[in-house]
Amino acid sequence: MPRVKVPRKSTAIDMTAMCDVASLLLTFFILTATARQPEALTVDTPTSTVKIKLPESNIATITVGQGKVFFGVQGQPIRERVLQKMSERYKVPFSAEDIKRFSLMDNFGVPINQLKQVIDMKGADRNKEGLQPGIPVDSVAGAASQLHEWIYQARVATKEINDESLRISIKGDAKEEYPTIKKIIDILQKQKVNKFSLVTSMEGAD
């Protein structure tokens, strides 16, 4: 009987298709990835086991670290509107150019009368450590604190523009003392904001 010859096959596979798919996915992920924004105040958030992600829009972030408080709200139209309102409220004039530049800033931490100087700076200079002293959180002579006004105006602006309520998140440094956090919670509670989020990083449940 003649032996059946099994044809020897090459082990090399055509990888072109695989390469195509891989590059397609790679392009997709690169394009969808959002670049990490530079932060004026770097904080080390505490860890927790919660798995709920922070929403992308209609959110204001109060960053607390080293006793300083920074404030930022998402969305350029909202930022513009907030600054206009604050300018009226505190009688500090801002030009249209200033407002435009302000709408590109992620967060800031200066009293409103110094805000113009920070807006005029270049992006890289703004985030120098120790440059921005933080937003005043104490109420002066019975008037509400500036942070209170910023939060309030941001809520009004979000309601006007997006017709949705603004979510407020507190991003605190793990080492921050509780009284500072308490001041902010009190400011929020004063405007009847009783529900807010605490920003944390991930931790495995043990």
Partner: protein, 181 residues
């Protein structure tokens, strides 16, 4: 310029004896694919993991007009957790001046406060038939991490009723006595 290298690939017979070797157009793509998948993995993980988590916190409604209006809860089913300094916790069941279970200083984590919470909530459930209420009182010496940690313990131990309340003087005295203030 316009002349094409006509005898290039085919190794044309006419004219020359120079036979250019037929080269394969195939490239080994294995390293390229390796690199691509590495990058894909990197971008996938960074996009989903870098997003911060949000822990929702609902505070009790605070009314400036009628401050005295406090909600009374049975002291038999409340556990008070005081957040002291040096990452320590002191807890007791009942009232501060007349505790049902004596104040105990505890660490954070699964062998510390979590054990106590689970045990006490079982006891209270068995004796009163209702769920335990946890009152969190952060002192001025505690930090933000402590607050997040204890809230996280609430999530882990599945305590449904808890509140963050301001600390008062007898409780600060208690912390001082045990050296965690």
């Amino acid at each position: 310029m316009a002349e094409l290298n006509s005898d290039g690939g085919g190794g044309g017979k006419k004219g020359g004896k120079v036979r250019s070797k037929k080269q394969s157009t195939r490239v080994d793509m294995t390293p390229m694919v390796d690199l691509m998948f590495l990058l894909i993995t990197f971008f996938m993980l960074t996009t989903t993991l870098a997003k911060p988590q949000a822990m929702d916190l609902a505070m009790p409604d605070k009314d400036d007009k009628n401050k005295d209006e406090q909600l009374d809860v049975a002291d038999t089913r409340t556990m008070t957790v005081l957040l002291g300094s040096k990452n320590k916790i002191e807890w007791f069941v009942g009232l501060a001046d007349n505790p049902i279970s004596a104040p105990t200083v505890e660490d954070y984590g699964k062998n510390g406060i979590r054990k106590a919470i689970i045990e006490k909530s079982k006891d209270i459930k068995a004796s009163t038939g209702k769920d335990m209420i946890v009152i969190i009182k952060p002192s001025d010496k505690s930090n933000y991490k402590n607050l997040v940690d204890i809230l996280d313990e609430m999530k882990i131990t599945n305590i449904k009723q808890y509140a963050i309340v301001d600390i008062n003087t007898p409780e600060i005295e208690l912390l001082k006595r045990d050296g965690v203030y």
